[in-house]
């Protein structure tokens, strides 16, 4: 179980989970942006809780699936008799402002990660991610934790979020923009159309939310205070690499 991690964290706390200033600042700004983006994500779904594949989709077309929720539009058939209030105006603005924040933060984070060699050092796949997972789930022996860096499962998870999920989020998001696709018409085409991009955007959101939940659970069960200190002040002990 995950709780086994609780008693195992001491040696790493002493070694000092440390993060540099760039990682700490971009981490929390990313959280701010992600929450803002996700608020809009929840909100917009209610104005059309139907999802499609392909380029086009509307209430006259058969959806891929429909969420069993009420809608903020009376033009959308749902199982409910009421129509939710329209909150699309401000939440749109919030979404794109947060998207800009995320873009700037992302550029700084990626440039710094490449420049400093941090990506190569900390996020390069180290093999054995499944063994670590099996250990956490008690399906196999617990692997020894690296003291000053991430284990194979962490590397795989963080690399997937940084190099796969976020770029795909930005891509599928922009693939819905009529002005962006005017310049880059292949953006929606390559994933199968504008509505497919929208559907992927929806599932990617859940993927990232799932990551956040697991991430917070893991932090909470492996020395919460020390890990928060590591991500806020950088940690007080030692001068090891980011962990």
């Amino acid at each position: 179980m995950l709780w086994r991690m609780l008693g195992r964290s001491d040696e790493r706390v002493v070694a000092g989970p440390r993060h540099g200033a760039v990682v700490r600042v971009t981490h929390w700004l990313t959280l701010v942006a992600f929450v803002a983006l996700a608020i809009r994500g929840v909100e917009i779904v209610f104005s059309h809780p139907r999802f499609y594949l392909g380029e086009t989709g509307n209430v006259n077309m058969k959806p891929l699936f429909t969420l069993p929720v009420a809608s903020s539009r009376d033009t959308v058939p749902t199982a409910y008799r009421y129509v939710l209030p329209d909150q699309n105006g401000w939440s749109r603005a919030l979404h794109f402002e947060a998207a800009w924040l995320l873009l700037f933060v992302g550029v700084v984070y990626v440039a710094s990660g490449l420049w400093s060699g941090r990506f190569r050092r900390e996020l390069r796949p180290s093999g054995g991610a499944w063994d670590v997972l099996r250990g956490y789930l008690r399906l196999g022996p617990m692997r020894e934790e690296p003291v000053r860096s991430y284990n194979a499962l962490q590397r795989a998870a963080y690399a997937a979020v940084v190099f796969v999920a976020f770029p795909l989020m930005i891509w599928t998001g922009l693939a819905m923009s009529p002005a962006f696709t005017a310049v880059f018409p292949w953006a929606p085409l390559i994933v199968g159309g504008r509505q497919t991009a929208r559907t992927l955007h929806f599932f990617l959101t859940w993927g990232l939310v799932l990551f956040v939940v697991v991430h917070v659970v893991m932090v909470s069960t492996s020395g919460f205070v020390a890990r928060m200190r590591g991500m806020i002040t950088g940690g007080a002990h030692g001068d090891g690499g980011a962990a």
Binding site: R50, D74, D86, N88, R92, A93, P178, A179
Partner: protein, 253 residues
Amino acid sequence: MKSFSRRKMLWTGAAAAAGVAGLVEAPKLMRRAGILAPDCVGAYGPGEALTYAASRIIAPNARAREFSRSWISTTPFANSTYGPIPAEFAQQKAEGFANWKLSVSGMVMHPAVFSVGDLKQMGRSSQITEVACEEGWSYIAEWIGTPLAKMLDEVQPLGPARYVMYTSMRDGWTDLIDMHDARHPQTLLTWGMNDGDLPFGFGGPLRLRLPKQLGYRNVKYVHQMVLTDSLKGFPKGVGLADPANGYSWYAGI
């Protein structure tokens, strides 16, 4: 923690001052360049400003995606309109919109009133483009109309004119675009759809089609256009599809 050296502090201070000065000056420079969205105020102002400026800087003259005939939706969706129907509109509808007029006034050399027939005389353009609603749904149709640029050539905007404001007779819905969007070759005063007349539900007899932006700016039943250099003196929230809910002026994303 390392202590700051005096030099580092000076450089940091200078950089911060330059940053603040840049942020203060940026809107002025953007306004001068004509790439500042008119609704860049409040908490969401920076985002609005960045989004519109980016669209104008990256590829200002890009054309919205056009599709081949086989992509035309067989089941397009005509969104609802709301509110009481004004008597004037009911009258027009009873006449089958045969006497529909578009009045153009404001900062133009030749204010004019055009019938749909007059517009057809000015030029015809068609495009197979997607209507995408901010809610998420979409469809593709062929849109046939007169490029707004052709109509502007007739009325001749005065030098200072910066915006074209357009109003729906159905519900008074008002929006405005800047001269850049107004002159874009795909911006159409649309009177036809899929080889026929523009059906009532899709905005017939006259709809402004702006395919590089989302549906809510593609106002239906347009009967009035005013060219202006400023939004002062016009109803509050002009340029916002629904001011109460704060829809953004620019909807290219």
